[in-house]
Symmetry: C2
Subunit: 332 residues, 2 copies
DNA sequence: TGTTTTAATTAGAACGTTTTCATAATTCTT
DNA sequence: AAGAATTATGAAAACGTTCTAATTAAAACA
């Protein structure tokens, strides 16, 4: 591939001059600029960003680590991140950790070697310590890692509150919450906190059943189905309202109820969380759910990171909590 | 960030020697190796892949351009590509063209500037010419571009055949096919070819209605719904079987039928195409559809590209057609 | 023993840019 | 018209690697 030298030769100027034209900095004669531009076009020159990155020690690459880019929620998140990144001249290096600690560690190492300008961490399998010692700008989704690692997330506490209140206001007398794994201290745990609190405030008996991790790569639905079968099914009918930690789980529960002839919402009300593209496509039932504005989350993750990168000494490492919204569907 | 010089200094050897240790090539004394490894660990050294890429003119980056990484089909495809790429030490640069020619052109330019080792093209808005003149290894999904650009796709013709035959064998007497845009010569058009052919072979009257492009970013469902409302609705009842070019469209049609009290499959049979993660999650109805094995497609795209990259003079630029499979659901 | 082989190490060029510094040419001042 | 300021250009160092070629040290040979 041709390089800046070839351009210089072709245009009959020095390499420096060509560089000047490309970067539009310093004095350049009008004629010279034209000659150079013509030369570049003539030989189909394309500046080598690798060489540039080396020299400027900035790559304009962002690493994004997610558990599974196929999952509707992350697929949508990634897309929004990419859209924003692209607008700001950054490129995305995509990494699927599959929630395996080892893969995550490897990816972090790989991103470091590739000198990405920063990392957006949406996968959280490692101890906070591990992230802290990464010497790169990081922004985290849904987890508080340390003071100097900003995070972005939806207002999980409020989400849990709104969902729970909605169930109670719809007449539920005994509530169940199907949460994600609560062992790691992640922001979504606030949903459970709120659930408990609201139940207590309203003297509503409740229970929380925790779903373990397990990435069934072929069917997001399947793992939830299994969980419900094994851990929820028996006691399900003792409740009249369930707050699920995500929409696909909620859908699985709905299907389960239907199979058993349990009427939703008459006998059992269900609220989900996310309102991701799957949920939006799903027409029967239209789930009642708490919407996380993924577009805003993506944008905030990206802009926060870029700010950290470009604000060398920046005081801009703000955390962001975006508002949620209750979407009323047919399951409550 | 520390560099190879720092390691050399710390270990009391030359830069060359450190490079030797890192790359495991040439003679290295046992003791020396140990010293160097210790030094690297001590100062947390991470080889600069950018410098490496510059020197070796290989970046181990692959560009992937898709219309929309949020779409379940592409989300799944990308994930499979990434999985395979990672195993082979390649990284993925993700690009969303949104089916805009200008964005696609920009992305190609960007990938060239970033000296990716190759491009996987899943977005096809430009003229074949444009791709041909890209001086990088390219592999294309679902489109024949030129002799030296290999392509990968499912056996679209057979897919169309199987779907159509299935409808006819299920008793349909008059068939409709809702296809994607047919103006560009893409492999999925073979589905329509097969549809026509099979109908003619069986003396079945048929019609094809073409859906235009339009990326409604918020709802994949919505655009199909609109299309059905406007272009299909009126004459729908004159058919008793519909072959849809993708699952989401098929689902939209199902919902439309339901709303109008048209019984599926009794009055109207529906077959989709893809069997993507949305379809797999969907429980009501279980769609009858033609499965494209996305995992194999992803793998083939990736391995074909890597072969081109690494087989310098390679004769390996084979096209790949992967087998489809009819998934029997409740809509036929 | 001296010579050849093999093993271990290094200096320095190269990869394609940007940037600093120096210099040349032009235009302004007065 | 002479110096100062402005405009335009280029040579060469630097970014962090790898690689070629050269050099030295140790082992094997005869």
């Amino acid at each position: 591939m041709v390089n800046i030298k070839d351009v210089a030769k072709k245009a009959g100027v020095s390499v420096t001059t060509v560089s000047r034209v490309i970067n539009n900095r310093g004095y350049i004669g009008k004629e010279t600029r034209k000659k150079v531009e013509k030369a570049m076009a003539d030989i189909n020159y394309s500046p080598n960003q690798i060489a540039r990155a080396l020299q400027k020690s900035q790559s304009y690459l962002l690493g994004v680590i997610v558990p599974d880019s196929e999952h509707p929620f992350f697929a949508e998140l990634i897309k929004n991140i990419e859209l924003y990144a692209y607008k700001n001249n950054y490129k995305l290096l995509l990494c699927n950790s599959l929630d395996e600690a080892e893969k995550e560690t490897n990816y972090i190492g790989m991103l470091r070697e590739n000198r990405v300008d920063g990392i957006i961490m949406c996968s959280q399998t490692l101890d906070v310590e591990e992230y802290r010692k990464v010497d790169l700008p990081i922004v985290s989704f849904d987890r508080i890692m340390s003071n100097d690692i900003p995070y972005v997330g939806s207002d999980n506490f409020n989400g849990g509150r709104v969902a729970t209140k909605h169930l109670i206001e719809s007449g539920c007398k005994k509530l169940l919450h199907l949460s994600g794994p609560l062992d790691l201290d992640m922001l979504p745990n606030r949903r459970s906190d709120a659930f408990k609190l609201v139940c207590m405030e309203h003297d509503i008996p409740y229970k929380i059943i925790e779903e373990e991790y397990s990435r069934d790569t072929f069917s997001f639905f399947g793992q939830h189905e299994e969980f419900i079968e094994e851990k929820v099914s028996k006691e399900l009918l003792t409740y009249d309202g369930v707050f699920c930690s995500n929409d696909i789980l909620a859908y699985a529960l709905y299907i389960h109820a239907q199979k058993r002839g349990i009427k939703v919402p008459e006998q059992l009300k269900i609220v989900g969380y996310d309102f991701n593209s799957f949920t939006r496509m799903l027409q029967k039932p239209k789930l009642t759910t708490v919407k996380q504005p993924v577009d805003r989350i993506g944008r905030e993750l990206c802009s926060t990171l870029i700010n950290m990168i470009e604000d060398k000494d920046g005081e801009k490492r703000n955390n962001t909590i975006v508002d949620i919204e209750l979407i009323r569907g047919e399951t409550t």
